[in-house]
């Protein structure tokens, strides 16, 4: 699985052998492409993978399941981001723990789709079909592709996260600042508030400047097409001190985005940036890590 950006696969299975049957093709292609391949699975599934891959298993690492935070954990996104390498793609396969909270898992998986879309990662999230039905529903809803024995397939049950959906406080921290943005005339106040929260989150020097610039640009993008009418945007800034600064600008979608990547000028100044249009609403999200 090559190419830029995140490939986020769900894998629904009935046990270790069924899991391996559906995943082995993706794993082999990743190895052939030179990916860093990590299979974070229980012992029985490790044995099944070794058997299916034969000598190719030598190119795979099998970290213990305890090394992988589940999607419901607050540090999940930082962990995922840490897998990305500048020189080659990374493929990671993990299993849903049976005890995981379905709503928290949904937040984590949605967040991956929203803000990690530009990372060179292939994530394969495995969910047993006999787990909590709510958890199974999350797995079906949050993966654009499904890993099957015939290879990756489009997932008709995938639902793009709505921009108006509540941002998971457990992941991004509490709202440190919220303000209305009615146009570019409000940008100075946007910058002042972001700088204030960023400093309290633990960012310093150029890191604050970068965070301020990234959120400012997100607001500029969200304002597009509103002038002279009020843009009607809301900016929320969330912080997890020592960990992340997350900003989300939400409001009416008034103009099409420019051709190409509309956030290419933002990405050099933040960890992740994502734009999401849905049902006439637009959300621009920016994540900065401390």
């Amino acid at each position: 699985m090559t190419g830029p950006g995140l490939v986020h696969l769900g894998l629904l299975h009935d046990g270790p052998e069924d899991l391996v049957d559906s995943a082995v093709g993706v794993v082999r292609r990743a190895l052939e492409a030179g990916d860093d391949v990590r299979l974070v699975v229980d012992r029985r599934t490790v044995r099944a993978f070794r058997e299916a891959l034969g000598d190719d298993a030598e190119g795979v690492t099998f970290p213990p399941p305890s090394s992988l935070l589940p999607p419901s954990a607050p540090g999940f996104l930082a962990t995922v981001r840490g897998w990305a390498r500048p020189d080659r793609r990374t493929t990671v396969l993990g299993q849903y723990p049976a005890t995981m909270s379905a709503p928290d898992c949904g937040f984590g998986e949605d967040a991956v789709n929203l803000v990690l879309g530009d990372l060179p990662l292939t994530l394969i999230c495995c969910c047993r079909r006999d787990l909590d039905p709510d958890l199974l529903a999350v797995a079906r809803r949050t993966h654009p592709l499904l890993a099957t024995t015939a290879g990756p397939a489009d997932n008709a049950a995938y639902r793009t996260p709505a921009p108006a959906s509540p941002t998971p406080a457990a992941l991004w921290g509490t709202v440190a600042a919220r303000l209305e943005v009615d146009g570019t005339g409000d940008l100075a106040e946007v910058r002042r508030r972001v700088a204030d929260v960023a400093g309290r989150a633990g960012l310093e020097g150029d890191a604050v400047r970068a965070a301020v610039l990234a959120v400012h640009e997100a607001a500029v993008l969200a304002c597009r097409g509103s002038d002279p009418e009020p843009a009607g945007l809301t900016l929320e800034i969330r912080a997890r001190p020592g960990s992340t600064l997350f900003s989300e600008v939400v409001g009416p979608c008034r103009a099409p985005v420019p051709d190409g990547d509309p956030l290419s000028h933002v990405r050099p100044f933040c960890s992740c940036a994502a734009l999401h249009d849905d049902a006439g609403r637009r959300a621009v999200r920016v994540l900065t890590t401390v």
Binding site: L187, A188, R191, R209, H216, E217, V220, P268
Partner: protein
């Protein structure tokens, strides 16, 4: 990082100068003008005010010098410390030409000096000139603004040109800011040029003012090209508190579009700005200063 500082448009400098005050809203511009006039009156200057009088009103019914205006301005109109001329009359007397406008202002200055006023303050409201369809008018305008510079250099004259953005066409806003790039105050940002020709924007430069900032950059480049010696534009970045991608692109694109041989030389400013310039694409016509300003 400290919180972004705001540009502090200091219009109360007792030296001669020719400043443009840009306002996004009419009321905002009026507040700035009233404050400037009050300070000049308190400073003992003779004030010449040129403004619009709608519907045949008299100067004592104007927003500044009428009942709703500050008391100092009303009193000065009565005492003669301030003179009011409505803009249509000023145009009629000057003939609307550069020579006529400069002659009108020079006459006022000479009369004030004859009357022993130590300093002269002159301001005019946004002129609403139809520049969009009239390149000849733009040329005349550029010439008379240069004449104002000469007035301020020769005599103790302070000029405040008012630009009310909602009242002017895009062309007028562009040309007005470009001409005044040496001394412009526009909300959170401002710019000045020193005698050595170093142009210094300061404050917050963002998408809201990007077009006006672009006009000032082009004005500065245009003025540099008129110099006999080196035509490079030296830009001092040390007082910039914030610059966004739009303004960084404008600065770099202006340098890229400069004629062969003209370079933009950057002085001072934070390292982060260089990172921003690199991100938007820095052309070869932009170079760093070799001094340690």
């Amino acid at each position: 990082m400290t919180a972004p500082l705001r540009a502090r448009p200091d219009l109360d400098v007792p030296a001669s100068r020719h400043t443009l005050n840009v306002a996004d809203a009419v009321d905002q511009g009026r507040r700035g003008t009233a404050s400037w006039v009050e300070r000049e009156l308190a400073h003992g200057s003779k004030v010449f005010y040129k403004g619009w009088l709608p519907d045949g009103r008299r100067p004592d019914q104007h927003w500044l010098t009428g009942p709703a205006g500050p008391r100092g301005a009303r009193d000065a109109l009565v005492s003669g410390q301030m003179e009011f001329l409505d803009i249509p009359t000023a145009i009629e007397r000057s003939g609307g030409t550069a020579d006529g406008v400069i002659g009108l202002y020079r006459g006022e200055v000479e009369r004030a000096l004859d009357d022993q006023w130590p300093t002269i303050a002159m301001t005019q409201e946004s002129p609403e000139l139809p520049m969009a369809d009239n390149p000849a008018l733009v040329s005349e305008y550029v010439t008379w603004e240069a004449g104002f510079d000469a007035l301020a250099q020769r005599w103790p004259v302070r000029l405040l040109c008012q630009l009310s953005v909602p009242l002017e066409s895009e062309t007028s806003v562009w040309e007005t800011v470009a001409v005044h790039h040496r001394d412009v105050v526009d909300g959170f940002w401002s710019a000045t040029a020193d005698d050595a020709g170093i142009w210094s924007p300061r404050g917050d430069l963002d998408a809201h003012v990007a077009r006006r900032f672009g006009a000032a950059v082009h004005g500065a480049l245009r003025a540099a090209r008129r110099r006999d010696e080196c035509t490079d534009l030296h830009v001092d970045l040390s007082a910039i508190d914030f610059m966004d991608v739009a303004c960084a692109q404008i600065l770099m694109l202006a340098a890229r579009s400069a004629p062969d041989g003209q370079q933009m030389v950057l002085h001072g400013g934070p390292r982060f700005l260089r990172r921003l310039f690199d991100a938007v694409g820095r052309p070869v016509s932009v170079r760093e200063s070799e001094d340690a300003r």
